[in-house]
Amino acid sequence: MIIQSILTILALVVICLGLVHLGRATILANALILSGGFGIYCVWNPSSTTAVAHVLGVGRGTDLLIYLWVVVSTALVLLLYIQLRRQMILITNLARHIAIQEARRPATNRTEVEP
């Protein structure tokens, strides 16, 4: 019962976070509340995930959740990576723009024609 209680408390914290965000970031809030609720349900009804697992040809519900978790987290890592790269390109363009605007020209160079 100890682990169930700990997990339930954690899931409740997740749900509370979702409730706090409700109205500001709706998608995130809904995802937090739903995953918290799903977590509590799974903790107290472990046989339910096992039933789904059997339908899909997986031995235990726990295994099914592990497989799903691997898939979801891999997808998240890739998405984050792509997002980071996009941001880096934006930052680079911004820095380049500033750098070119603030270019310093040598004092001795008088031969150059202004564009």
Binding site: A103, N109, E112
Partner: protein
Amino acid sequence: MMEQNRDVWILIAAYNEGSVIGEVVRELRGQFSNVAVVDDGSSDRTGDIALEAGAHVIRHPINLGQGAAIQTGLTYGLSRGADYLVTFDADGQHRIEDVKSMFEVVKKFDLDVACGSRFLGSTEAMPTSRRILLKLAILFTRFTTGVKVTDAHNGLRVFSARGAKQISITQNRMAHASEIIEQIAARKLTMQEVPVTIKYTAYSLQKGQKITNSLSIIMDLLGGRMHK
């Protein structure tokens, strides 16, 4: 004396190269009136020293990497009306004579770009480990781009304005060398390799690429492909 090669811009990406950049710029300024140093957010006096030596200085407010600095140099040179743009390493490993011979080739054959090749030319004091690493990089670049390069990571390149306009480097760090070759192939730019000599010094070796960097270069290249 400074009237020479007015249509050419020499572009140098530099990060904390204060100890050598002044000499490199002064030597180039003897032959070329337009030298631009992209100071990639150095913490030393690289920018000030380059300016005193007679270079235009474009300073990234933050350190972005050599690829980003080269692209900034190309963008700046094009904005100043350059007809030819030369990428030149800050550490003094390239020779000005080689720039001239590459420049002649680009003009003569009306090329988009000429790339320096140390393996067609010669090297001074190249360690064996560096040679093996570079050869592996060449195999990798040939395999991924299909371009039969003989030197994948040579910093010395001469672009015509037409060629430079078609290059857009998004690989901020060291993977830009492969990215440039990829774009030359993808955009069907006319390219020729020209033999050059690389002077290996203790300084340039310490600054150069190590085997441990090759993995991160490959990761950057894969990542770049994934999101295009």
